[in-house]
Homo-oligomer: 205 residues x 4
């Protein structure tokens, strides 16, 4: 990694971090009338009623964290920040910034009649996430140095995982139109894949 | 590039990144009455009705991303962070931070009677953007090292592009007062210019 | 410390910084009717009535600052950013981001009947903070280099402080259910411990 | 400057940057009834009526920018990030984060009857700013290396400027209680002093 890509990486880290931190703005201190009879019970109930915000917070935070870990892995192999990389990365940043919105829509509507609209919107966003990672991978691979640090076998493995991911999200989106829970379940079933995806061979660590 | 300018660059990157990320705060989960008859259709319509926010988001994000790429290119040649550079850069940061506001005004009013006010406001902001980039270029050029890394020909080419940009935005602003769509079109027609502007000669890369 | 952990550290610093800065969004300029009789007195009273926001601001800011100082101390000894460290750190970031919310609830309800609910919620959050620091410490210790820079005695001392902290917060949570002020007092009595905790031996500085 | 202080500096830069960027959240797209008679005139007036937000934005941005430039100058001489420096810097960050609030209060109330309350609040904040800079200077000076890079004469000059600043802000605060415009004028008359304050001797650059 060189200085050029280090700057892109730091810039991206800033956006990842801010996107994660802005999620807390969803939470608001529940207002309680000053002379409430049994304030304790009421405040407890109010706090418990924030659970959908809590779920959206956890989901968005986890998603962006996993995206960040993968960005981290991918950029270990980046050399040279040409315009191709800058704009592919910029597109990914656009999507990173956007992710909290469909997640909040999902958390709000998952237990209501409009669940399939919310779930389709959520899954479709991850199709975009997947496309942007595929673009970024491509722009990193194009500029790679042909040395032992990133053997072709590893690249092929990562490429395959990214391509499979794209298909899985496309299927999830189609599924969510009719069975929202199943569609979302497919999306989440990919979390471990991304959390575990290695960008190097074990023996070269 | 030395340590001094590296800090200014990192600081600027932070501001670019935050300005891009704050754009998402425009989006709010559409509220739907709990017992709505046909929640699905309603939520879909509500989400579709967010398109002006979507357009503003895309425009602002793209604009700031392109500004960042150019900042990146310019700072490759920066040497020594004197007060001139610090304040020229500070003025640019002021404008970067401000850009999302006229963009949101534009997205809100472009299809309404007040379109020319919104368009003029938008174009005028880019006159400021252009002025600040001209100032920054000047403060970078003043401190440049006279070596092969940045030949006078390249400087002259960048200077010319910046000066032309300023004139184009001035003309766009005057045009937008009467023909808002044309004024905005001039602004956007410059995007490829800025996205493609090179800050080095091809053979020296 | 190597480049890998430096990136994790920078990323975390960003989140710490943003979480601290977002706290100011709590403050809003008090609105005053334009033709108010005695505007001076009214504005002064309005500003004074913001004291709970002020208290929440100071508490959250101080808490996150101390957490940052400890993160700083811990990462001096971090080597190698494996997935274990990335996710332990990610979990801590989740909690850092969350801390302002229970603090605001505490500031709002500490002088009202629901005080014990707010205090329990506040103390319980610090149980999570403590768990996440214990996890992070563990993931740093696992990857440590066995050299003089971090003798086993220091590790044992830090470990003990972290474990004691966890117990203290658990006790504080249980206490706050019945005596809210006492529970919160236990939490705050640990501030000096964390502010002073050294991650190196004095003679090796 | 070493790696330790570099991290503190990067962290502070993040907070400076975010505090500056959050200022834009003050601006909201003015809403206009859909079927307004003369939308153009109305939108123009609405945009012009945002001038107090504009003034607050410019003042806060300029203030934090100048504070950042000085932080920059001071940290060039910092060696070793001990707890003293960490907490002095943390206190400064607290104030940096807070500055936009009194500035907004000032912009809102400067042309109304409560002007002296707003002006006193504003000036008093800068007493805190000044105190925090004096603390930070002290904690930097204590750890300084006794070499030619920072001669005692320069330190004495900076110290004197800082001490004079504190007195000026104290006088401004007292003045603002009775003559709000004069108090604020004293504060602003110090801007050039801080913008120009050098942290090195000219010949050593």
């Amino acid at each position: 990694m060189d200085r050029e890509t280090a700057r892109v990486e730091a810039f991206s880290d800033g956006i990842f971090g801010i996107a994660m931190t802005l999620l807390i703005l969803e939470f608001r201190v529940p207002p309680l009338p000053q002379g409430a009879e049994d304030g304790r019970r009421q405040l407890m109930l109010e706090l418990l009623h924030l659970w959908p915000s809590g779920v959206a917070f956890l989901l968005s935070f986890g998603t962006i964290l996993i995206m960040w870990v993968n960005h981290h892995g991918l950029f270990k192999h980046a050399h040279g920040a040409d315009n191709r990389l800058l704009f592919a990365n910029g597109f990914l940043m656009l999507i990173v910034t956007f992710v909290p919105f469909p997640t909040a829509v999902l958390a709000e509507y998952l237990d209501r009649r409009a669940a399939n609209v919310a779930a389709t919107f959520y899954c479709a966003t991850f199709v975009l996430v997947s496309i942007s990672y595929n673009l970024l991978l491509w722009s990193v691979v194009v500029n790679r140095r042909h040395d032992a640090a990133w053997p072709e076998a590893t690249i092929a493995r990562v490429k395959k995982a990214y391509r499979m991911g794209l298909w899985a999200y496309l299927i999830a989106t189609a599924t969510a139109m009719f069975w929202p829970y199943l569609g979302v379940a497919i999306c989440f079933s990919l979390w471990p894949l991304w959390a575990m995806l290695r960008y190097y061979e074990r023996q070269m660590k």
